[in-house]
């Protein structure tokens, strides 16, 4: 038995191909790991098949705070976190840390401003909250549509990450990789529903974090850094990159010395050579933070916990589990910087730098394969959550609430499944164009959420005077600015030069336009609300008494 295991693993390792082959040639060992993990997800999904709408939408409100926190972290840790952040830091140095801060700092806002308040409001979905708070079916429908658009934008980045990883593992062209990956995640999302996805996401978190940590420990040990705590150990490496590392006996998988010319631009803030500046760092981190607090699929997580206090504590646990990965992520870009510094390595696809770094570090191919599986797992877990959020937005908030209030559970379920399939097809088509890096594409979704939904939630919870007209004005401003920013971005990619494109491209950048759009949307909401009739008394009373604990005066 022992001999069989040794022979099998040796064969797999050999079949996994040379560690120096960075390109997407077929790698049997990693392919088996990836396929095995995907089958595991599907089996777990099948075992948790949802039977009715309540289970599908809110997991029967039966998940514990730690479990919910783990699910939040798994849902959050997408291809953007797993692959994209290291990619940005590899290419732009300190600027990439704006993504780290943006995607964690927003949780503080989410906790103090939203979590328990929304839970107390007691609705299933974000559009439900908006529709009831602002007594407007039009706003409910609009929020549902925005939620779908956010899910689509977000998924585009994830499908891109799936495509890159399948390309690496299976040696398939990018487009086929995206199609296969999207088909698999669609399959288990359709049949398991939200209950299955939530429980599955806890398993996915464990796979994600272990796969990410193992190579980090190996690299810090192998290259003589403080390996007991890699997130601290790589600090010296960052300093070494700044001052340069001379030729030495440590080598990468190509046989090149673990050395690099002095490269201060890697660590210095907004270095001119990166093309990024202070304004871009601040606006990007701000946009990502307010976007975090406005994402419907994150907010929906609060409904799966049994108690209001669990909604708060699941944010804490979720943030803790997320930070574990985010502490490790810059390590990959730092090692990648040195390991790829020899010109013979050439220009690497930044979005795959996590995997390339592990390969260049000459880590065992099966561990690298497990890492790739972790990346795919990260993308899958997020995509499934996004598809559910988008599908629920269409089925529950548009179809049932607006178009067909007499729809049965079965009809809603059917609509949800159709919406899921349509969304997946649309996303696959867009992802095929590779418009930008994963993290940048995902940041578009955050900016969209930050300037449309975040102002609605913020003022809806914290100001009794925010009314329907003000909300419509705010959303209109947010959507208008979003359309301008995204239109200019797409036009630029298509080679079309619109007027003032340099100005718009800088101040209304596609991944950070919420820095101005969110405040303007809030301002519009306030101004118009003050000019129009107050909200109905019942709504103000419900908000004051049930959400904010005021005394019930009758």
């Amino acid at each position: 038995m022992t001999a069989f295991v040794v022979m099998t693993s040796s064969s797999l390792a050999y079949a996994a191909g040379s560690a120096a082959e960075l390109d997407g040639n077929f790698k049997l060992g990693p392919a088996i790991i990836v396929i095995g993990i995907i089958i595991l997800f599907i089996v777990v999904g099948l075992l948790n098949k949802a039977s009715d709408t309540a289970n599908y939408w809110a997991a029967g409100r039966s998940i514990s705070r730690v479990g919910s926190g783990m699910a939040i972290a798994s849902n959050w840790m997408s291809a953007a976190s797993f692959l994209g952040m290291a990619a940005i830091m590899y290419g732009s140095g300190y600027h990439g840390l704006a993504y780290v801060i943006g995607w964690t700092g927003g949780y503080v806002l989410l906790l103090v401003l939203m979590a328990s308040q929304i839970r107390r409001f007691g609705k299933y979905t974000a559009p439900d909250f908006i529709g009831d708070r602002y007594y407007s079916s039009g706003l409910r429908a609009t929020t549902a549509i925005i939620g779908i658009l956010i899910s689509v934008c977000y998924c585009v980045g994830q499908f891109g990450g799936i495509g890159i990883m399948f390309e690496w593992v299976l040696g398939l062209p990018y487009l086929w990789s995206v199609i296969i990956g999207s088909s698999v995640v669609l399959l288990y999302t359709l049949i398991s529903g939200m209950l299955g996805v939530t429980k599955n996401q806890q398993i996915q978190y464990v796979i994600i974090i272990i796969s990410f940590m193992i190579p980090a420990f190996i690299m810090t040990w192998k290259f003589d850094y403080f390996w007991l705590l890699p997130p601290i150990g790589y600090g010296q490496l960052v300093s070494d990159i700044v001052t340069g590392i001379p030729n030495n006996e440590l080598v990468n998988s190509y046989g090149h010395s673990f050395a690099i010319l002095p490269s201060p631009e890697y660590a210095l803030p907004w270095d001119p050579s990166t093309g990024k500046d202070f304004f871009q760092w601040i606006t990007l981190s701000f946009s990502l933070m307010v976007g975090t607090a406005g994402l419907p699929h994150v907010i929906q997580r609060f409904y799966v916990v049994p108690k209001v206090s669990d909604a708060r504590w699941s944010v804490v646990w979720g943030l803790f589990f997320i930070c574990i990965l985010y502490w490790f992520s810059p390590l990959y870009s730092a090692f990648g910087k040195v390991l790829s510094s020899n010109p013979e390595v050439g220009a690497l696809a930044k979005d795959a730098i996590v995997v390339y770094t592990a390969q260049l570090a000459d880590i065992h191919p099966l561990i690298v394969g497990f890492l790739a599986a972790g990346a795919i797992s990260a993308a899958f877990s997020t995509v499934s959550g996004l598809l559910v959020a988008g599908a629920s937005g269409f089925s529950h908030d548009l179809y049932y609430r607006v178009f067909n209030p007499n729809a049965t559970s079965e009809q809603q379920m059917m609509m949800a499944r159709i919406a899921t399939i349509v969304m997946a097809i649309v996303v696959t088509v867009i992802a095929a164009y590779k418009l930008a890096l994963i993290a940048q594409l995902v940041a578009v979704a955050f900016s969209l959420a930050g300037c449309t939904l975040f102002p609605l939630f913020l003022l809806g919870i914290w100001w009794s005077g925010s009314n329907k007209q003000g909300a419509i004005a705010g959303v209109t401003v947010g959507i208008s600015i979003s359309l301008i920013a995204i239109a200019y971005f797409v036009a630029g990619k298509m080679g079309v030069d619109l007027p003032y494109s340099a100005f718009i491209g800088y101040y209304l950048n596609a991944w950070s336009f919420a820095w101005i759009a969110a405040p303007l949307a809030i301002l519009a909401n306030i101004v118009v609300s003050l000019m129009t009739p107050e909200p109905p008394r019942e709504i103000k009373k419900f908000l004051a008494v049930h959400v904010h604990g005021a005394e019930d005066m009758g």
């Binding site: 328990s116 490269s263 210095l268 209001v308 020899n342 010109p343």
Partner: protein, 244 residues
């Protein structure tokens, strides 16, 4: 407006008495710490930074007028070549910049004795393999060790060359590229080390995440007590109105 209607009018800055007031103060404290820790620090980083050009930038600015006037010395051309190699070695994107690489190729050509120039021109027009095997010869002309980090860049820094002077348009781009890549901005926050990190990097990549978790923990503990005190939640965390 009746008193009860007034009670139901509130905003974050004018919360209803009791729980909402305490909650608002708690939130304000957390958000203030959060904002200062993130944006305050980055602003401090910005206002305290000073220009810190690499020594090679001053060297380039001293050499460049001679290059433009075609009277740069051999030593100056060697130093300039090393500056080119340094940047080409550090920046992958620059290795796609044909004008920049032409500058390097031209510098090497001009520092060679006239009887070696033709051979060099032929080399630049050969395939990559042939160029790579000649790295040792070129590196020795530049007073570089064959296996040094800069020497490794040479095969990737050369472009096919015919000996003609570099165009004015190409020459105009070089100082801008040098300025962009050799100028940095540093401060005490970037130059101080903490646990091996440049301090600013540790603060942003490690400490801020710890702070976020700490703020969340603090808030949850404080608000749990407030909710129980004001009968919004029971001791086991159930909401009085919503969790049956």
């Amino acid at each position: 407006m009746t008193e009860s209607e007034n009670m139901y009018n509130f905003n974050f800055f004018r919360p209803t008495p009791g729980f909402a007031q305490h909650n608002a103060r708690l939130i304000a404290a957390v958000v203030l710490i959060w904002a200062i820790a993130i944006f305050g620090f980055q602003t401090l980083l910005k206002v305290t930074e000073q220009p810190a050009p690499e020594a090679q930038l001053a060297q380039f600015e001293e050499i460049w007028p001679g290059v433009l006037a075609n009277n740069a010395s051999t030593q100056d051309l060697k130093d300039l070549s090393k500056i080119y190699l340094n940047l080409l070695g550090r920046h992958v994107a620059l290795r796609s910049n044909q004008d920049f690489k032409l500058g390097f190729t031209s510098a090497v050509y001009n520092l060679l004795p006239s009887n070696e120039r033709q051979e060099f021109l032929s080399l630049t027009n050969k395939d990559f393999g042939a160029i790579k095997t000649s790295t040792g010869e070129i590196s020795s002309k530049l007073d570089l060790k064959k296996d040094s980090l800069l020497a490794q860049v040479i095969p990737y820094a050369l472009v096919p060359y015919d000996g003609a002077p570099v165009s004015e348009m190409a020459l105009k781009k070089i100082p801008t590229i040098m300025q962009k890549n050799l100028m940095h901005y540093r401060s005490a926050l970037t130059d101080t080390k903490f646990l091996g990190f440049p301090f600013h990097y540790f603060y942003t990549a490690i400490f801020l995440l710890v702070l976020f978790i700490g703020l969340c923990l603090f808030y949850c503990n404080a608000i749990d007590k407030l909710n129980i005190k004001y009968d919004l939640e029971t001791e086991d965390g159930k909401g009085v109105y919503h969790d049956k």
